[in-house]
């Protein structure tokens, strides 16, 4: 698809309002019960802050979640909501979004919820491209069940269930989503309100499934998991702290990061690796500047986006690209399903007459 067709009509069909809205209207009367310092608060604040800006009728917004600390999210928003069961939110939201064109449907899920018990539903939602916005709160731990390792925990993670260290290779949610050919894949961080809001707004505008991985700190069971990329001093990053750890992706711009050099731009950059077919990080020099990879989130082929996603550390997080990895247009499952119904319904104005016809079809005989 071409970039000129963007931005996507993600919210077409959802009724809007001209009346100004504010954060308060989106705040429910329920007391928020996350632990003090939990990253979930920041995400809630960002969402309550940007929802009013969409200009949608509040009653046409629905949040569906699974189970986990993060999945309590819908209770705190004064929209329609369902706090469902562990891992199943994408399936439930698929039915809702398919049945109702006029709703903006959001899924809130955790790393365990989305990638362990609900992994199957997640990949199928992404592959179908249902009109859903999925917020994956990745704290790299099971919070609600008090601190077992999760499918995104680094190998060797010592938890109550893995006293000698965890053994299994973690998922990289962005790679996974790209592998499932998701049409919108992004990553952001709980503490960066501006970036979070930017990415969420782009997700809202996308028609199709949008997966947004949010790095979220759990100060109780996995504190500091994101300190290195946040540049927190105690994480002891050797060189430039956050600047050196986060690789910001901006569509149409060369991928550069690291402590700014004389030109005010990052001294590190990403180039194609002709040997592996992937990408690698280089010190930017006058010689290689022209080779820097220009980020194309709209590329039909997800290969390069996948290669970029591989720059994420699988172990403790010292480095991660953030921003929108992929943003392409593909027909959505729910639009197509409704189209089929609309096509088939042409000429069936009277459901009762059609029903009488259906029941009375086939080989019949009459007894008088």
């Amino acid at each position: 698809m071409t970039t000129t067709e963007l931005p996507f009509p993600g919210l077409a069909g959802v009724p809007t309002t001209d009346a100004p809205q504010n954060r308060k209207e989106y705040t429910s009367d329920q007391e928020v019960r996350w632990c003090p310092g939990c990253g979930d608060y920041a995400v809630l604040a960002a969402v309550q802050g940007f929802l009013p800006e969409l200009g949608l009728r509040r009653e046409n917004i629905v949040f569906v979640s699974g189970i986990g600390c993060s999945s309590r999210f819908p209770y705190y928003l004064d929209t329609y909501g369902m706090h469902s069961i562990h891992g199943r939110a994408p399936a439930i939201a698929t039915g809702l979004a398919t049945a109702r064109e006029d709703l903006s449907v959001w899924v809130v899920t955790g790393d365990g919820d989305a990638l362990s018990i609900g992994g199957n539903h997640l990949i199928h939602a992404l592959r179908r491209n249902v009109n859903l916005k999925i917020l994956l709160f990745n704290n790299r731990i099971y919070g609600l069940t008090k601190g077992q390792y999760s499918p995104t925990s680094e190998i060797g993670k010592v938890t109550k269930s893995t006293p000698m260290g965890s053994l299994d290779q973690p998922f990289n949610p962005v790679s996974l989503a790209l592998g499932a050919e998701a049409t919108f894949v992004a990553r952001t961080v709980d503490s960066d309100r501006k970036h979070l809001t930017e990415v969420l707004s782009a997700a809202a505008a996308h028609r199709g499934t949008a997966l947004v991985e949010i790095y979220q700190n759990c100060p109780i069971f996995n504190d500091g998991a994101f300190d290195a990329i946040k540049g927190t001093p105690r994480a002891g990053n050797a060189d430039g702290g956050a600047a050196d750890a986060l690789i910001p992706l901006r569509h149409g711009e060369p991928i550069r990061f690291g402590v700014p050099g004389e030109d005010g731009q990052g001294t590190k950059g990403v180039v194609r690796d002709t040997e592996t077919g992937g990408v690698r990080i280089v010190e930017v020099t006058a010689d290689n500047q022209a080779e820097l990879l220009v980020h194309d989130a709209h590329a039909d082929d997800p290969t390069t986006a996948f290669a970029i996603s591989r720059l994420t550390d699988a172990g403790y997080l010292h480095r991660a690209p953030v921003g929108i990895f992929r943003q392409v247009q593909r027909p959505t499952y729910d639009d197509l399903a409704r189209d089929q119904v609309a096509t088939a319904s042409q000429g069936t104005d009277d459901r009762n007459a059609a029903l009488a016809n259906l029941l009375g079809g086939g080989d019949t005989w009459t007894v008088v």
Partner: protein, 641 residues
Amino acid sequence: MAKQVKQLDRVIIRFAGDSGDGMQLTGDRFTQETASFGNDLSTLPNFPAEIRAPQGTLPGVSSFQVHFADHDILTPGDRPDVLVAMNPAALKANIGDLPKGATVIVDTHDFNKRNLAKAGYAEDPLETDQLDEYQLHAVDLTGMTVEAVKEFGLSRKNAARAKNMFALGLVSWMYGRPTETTISFLEKRFAKVADIRDANIAAFKAGWNFGETTEAFVVQYEIKPAPMSSGTYRNITGNLALAYGLVAGAVQADLPLFLGSYPITPASDILHELSKHKRFGVITFQAEDEIAGIGAALGASFGGALGVTTTSGPGIALKSETIGLAVMTELPLVVVDVQRGGPSTGLPTKTEQADLLQAMFGRNGESPLPIVAPQSPGDCFDAAVEAIRIAVTYRTPVMLLSDGMLANGSEPWRIPELSELPTIDPAFATEPNHQTGEGKDEFWPYVRDEATLARPWAVPGTAGLEHRIGGLEKGDGHGNISYDPANHDLMVRTRQAKVDRIADALPPLQVDDPSGRARVLVLGWGSTYGPIGAAVRRVRNAGMEVAQAHLRHLNPFPKDLGEVLKRYDAVMVPEMNLGQLSLLLRAKFLVDVVGYNQVNGMPIKAADLAEAVTGLVESTVGTDPGAASGTADRTHQEVSS
């Protein structure tokens, strides 16, 4: 040659062959001919779970039994009067079910060393005396078929494939069936392949003419049409009737229907059928698994559609957690379980009723669920409409328990007038239903209707009614999360009471006790209706008194059930399981019912059950001779089942 014509009141025919021989189609065509002729009928397809089990072997045998009569009948019949066997394995697998004197038509073509050995015959049964007790017609059906379709220039293999139509033509002649429907069926079915179409029609006609001219068949049989109450009829299978019932219920409720389903035998045909009816606003979603199927259906229900999910026992196991969520969120949802043999993968293509307790109790916590069961293929329609009525009226998931026998079996079905169907009112919430202390209007999602205890169904898009629901315990009324002990106790009891209230609107149990003097009641549910009815007829015809009742609602039970049970000295409960309804009845009513239990994947045989009922009647009456059932007329007569 002049043929004799003999009158019969009923016949049971079984077509048997290799799974690749088209026996289901043959049986189905014979059934359609029979239906349009006006006989009452009942059918039983029986096929292997493998799509193509090894050719010529016993596991690869597929059969289709049809029972038809000049009067009303209730079952596909216990023992076939006629067997059509297309190969040695089909003969071997079925001959044991035939009574002495039955007619056996055998295609001799495959009776060679190799195929005899595959079927486990050491000697050719056609050349020994093992079939002497039967009226054997050994004919080279395949050879005659190939000869009859020669002119169309098909390969030998393709030519031979029309042998099922030759057999159908022959049997259609024997029983004077009308042929037009089959010919026009073949014209349509093979419209795009002219040579195959013509070959099938030619084989069908050749089979008919063979019967007419050969000296091997001297008798033609006549079975008069059965008297039926007036109306327009069609022949229908349980799965088709169930799918139609779902569409009809959705139309009656004026709701779009959303089906979330994952393919599984014997329920897939409902998914296939509903997928054809998008013009009724039906959305069918083939999910990644059963959990997603029901999840999507529940999500659609939350959005104001009628959520439906269809599956069999293994799928119910996967759906249990979501059913629990539907119980908690009190949303309408219809869960269809077409039961098959279990546990685990069990017997996918065979029938069983062993999911009743799973439906009743197969979830964590106190999780009550209404259960509705159809009793015959055509009745699947009404049962589906009833399940929707309950789901929508009471805002609850409802389990609809069909089974493999109902799903694939068929019977004539009187097409209902739409005016006979109940109107179903979703009564969506449109405005706030509660005032705060400060006089502010609010919406409370768990305020209940006084009569039904149903909560309001407020769908997204309705301004002012924004609310959150979920699987955590709800506070009474306001519906916010509540961990309060007293509230939980109240909510558990309220959810139970809501399901119990459904019985308030149910009609009393219909008990068929013609003299009013029977001391034994036979009580059943689901597809055992036919065999029980047939058995009861036999017992009554033998001069004994016995009452019969059948449960449409398994949860809640009709209000007068306890009282009905206590009216009888003995109650027999036939089931295709080890006594699941018996367990419920004993627990609830402290009545020591007598189970009649069979779990062999096949319907209960009327004759066997009649014997058991007779035994119970005799022992019950025998314990108190003064009260012996005093009917004068004890003439024994042949009855049909």
